[in-house]
């Protein structure tokens, strides 16, 4: 059986994405995910190259990138912190958690820190309502985040990132 998620389909050579095709259009999302993981965003040039590789118009790639909230065409921080803003999270104080992150990172919601390390966003339900308020740090889910835990969390993340 093929190992899942078809990520090995894109290889990078001399700064260029080379798509190992026999891929079809249906592999567009895994291919985009791979680039998003490696570079943190999907540039216009990446989109053009993917389109060439798959034999579709670059606008189609662009339309897909802009549709999905986890894919981005603009550079974001290395560490994206997403605070869930669904109702159970709001009820248990996610707004205060957001404020605490804003203070700790010295940015506003939706912004990236100047050093390019952190981006702060909100997102819909992340399936952690039983442990609200919950956040997503890149792809890791974390529950029971209170505002006074935020400072320590950022410090920990900075340590891990600088290693």
């Amino acid at each position: 059986m093929k190992p899942v998620c078809a990520v090995e389909k894109v290889i990078e050579k001399n700064g260029k994405n080379i798509i190992v095709c026999n891929e079809t259009r249906s592999h567009l999302l895994p291919v985009l995910r791979d680039i998003q993981d490696r570079k943190g965003y999907i540039s216009d040039r990446d989109m053009q190259e993917i389109a060439d590789g798959l034999g579709i118009h670059p606008v189609e790639v662009y339309s897909v990138v802009t549709f999905y909230s986890f894919l981005t065409s603009k550079k974001k921080g290395k560490c994206i912190i997403r605070v869930s803003n669904c109702m159970p999270n709001v009820m248990s104080g996610s707004k205060n958690v957001i404020k605490a992150f804003e203070r700790a990172l010295k940015i506003k919601l939706g912004e990236t820190t100047k050093d390019g390390r952190f981006t702060l966003e909100t997102t819909g339900c992340i399936g952690m309502c039983d442990q609200a308020p919950a956040i997503m740090v890149n792809d890791q889910l974390m529950g029971k985040i209170s505002p006074n835990k935020v400072g320590q969390l950022i410090a920990d993340l900075k340590k891990v990132r600088s290693k």
Partner: protein
């Protein structure tokens, strides 16, 4: 963690007992068994699973697919997180049985992007199953039955939980729902017949086969057989995932989680309805309160207009933008709610908003738009103490201008 207990999914079962039984029975018998059990889709719409599989099985095609919809995005739902981290083998066993019954040799697990961190664990289960002969070719020694499962990730789009949008997304497109008919059972992934079921539906299947359809039918009500996983959160002592038999009243649910002084329960998340105290005798069942499993408890200090505003903001973010009633209706309802909260909404304008909400319910293209106004209507009708209307018509004119 203590062992989970429940009437069906959380009850004990030998690994592969359902699959072995299915291979012994043969395709037609499996379809008959599922039909007899009255199993209905657990994602919320409640389509009879046996019928869906029979329709897919009846189509003559070279290639067929089984898709497991693990894109639970409904606010307040997290049952699939529990199923995929603790019961993944059971879910995959259900998918393999579905593949056997409809004649498919490939399946997809469409996993929401938010659950990406569970990927290594789920992949490990798949490799284990491959080693045990439950995936790959000649499954469990049955010659001619091959089945493989591939995991595909979503990228954070709620609308992809709608089955045709999910298929669009799998094909590498924007997750926009298709016109139906044709239904996926005829024209699904890349035009091939496809059975799309919820994670929880698949988790029921091995139990039904191993223990018989009568075991399953005995649980629940006449029209809603079996049990439902509820994801309960909000103002309660013990939030979490509970397996309850269909037919349980809201009162019973609230007792289970230790919720006191409850004012309202949002059943079905943002797309469901908010039930007020006088209706707590209503039952969780397809014929009464049909739900995908989200239960959010609100206590007396909450204002339900907050909830409606939050839900509509969510829909404004997540709708796909294809059809007019939904795309244009949601922002108008949201502004209306904000106006009501400011105290500037007249009775007449509220009537207009209500009629717009009803139009959206019947004119939107997919389930998202059709259900987006549910919470609005239920709160406007059921929680009149939570908002005040303005007597003046002037402010309303200002707003419209």
């Amino acid at each position: 963690m203590s062992e989970r207990l429940g009437p069906v999914i959380f009850s004990r079962i030998e690994p592969y007992a359902g699959l072995k039984k299915a291979l012994e029975l043969g395709k037609n018998e499996v379809l008959e068994t599922i039909k007899k059990s009255n199993l209905r889709g657990r994602g919320g719409a409640g389509f009879p699973t046996g019928l869906k599989w029979s329709l897919t099985a009846a189509v003559k095609a070279e290639k067929k697919y089984v898709i497991c919809n693990a894109d639970e995005g409904e606010p307040g739902t997290f049952k699939d997180r529990v199923l995929l981290t603790e019961y993944a083998k059971l879910v995959f066993e259900g998918m393999i049985i579905a593949g056997f019954a409809i004649g498919a040799d490939a399946g997809f697990l469409y996993l929401r992007g938010e659950y990406r961190s569970f990927l290594p664990g789920i992949e490990k289960v798949l490799f284990e199953m491959q080693k045990e002969g439950a995936l790959g070719s000649s499954i469990m020694g049955k010659k001619g039955f091959d089945f493989n499962i591939e995991i595909r990730l979503g990228e954070g789009a709620y609308v992809c939980g709608e089955e045709s949008a999910l298929i669009e997304s799998l094909e590498g497109n924007r997750g926009e729902p298709r016109n139906r008919p044709p239904f996926p059972v005829n024209t699904g992934f890349e035009g091939h017949p496809t059975a799309v079921n919820n994670v929880e539906t698949f988790a029921n299947v091995p139990h039904i086969l191993a223990k018989g359809p009568d075991f399953f039918k005995k649980i629940g009500t006449d029209k809603s057989a079996g049990s439902k996983l509820l994801s309960i959160s909000g103002d309660c002592k013990k939030p979490g995932v509970y397996e309850v038999p269909y037919g349980i009243s809201l009162k019973g649910v609230l007792k289970l989680v230790g919720a006191v002084n409850v004012k309202a329960v949002a059943v079905g998340g943002a797309s469901g309805i908010c039930v007020s105290k006088k209706d707590f005798g209503r039952k969780i069942a397809f014929e009464d309160l049909s739900t995908g499993g989200s239960v959010v408890v609100f206590d007396a200090k909450r204002n339900m207009m907050d909830a409606v505003e939050n839900f509509l903001e969510f829909f404004k973010e997540e709708h796909c933008g294809q059809c007019t009633p939904c795309r244009e209706g949601i922002p108008v309802l949201l502004e209306g709610v904000q106006l009501i909260r400011k105290g500037g909404c007249s009775k007449e304008y509220l009537e207009d908003l209500r009629s717009l909400a009803e139009t959206m319910q019947c004119a939107s293209k997919c389930g998202l738009g059709q259900s987006a106004p549910n919470a609005f209507i239920s709160v406007v009708d059921g929680f009149q103490k939570d908002y005040k209307l303005s007597n003046k018509k002037k402010e309303e004119k200002e707003f419209n201008a």
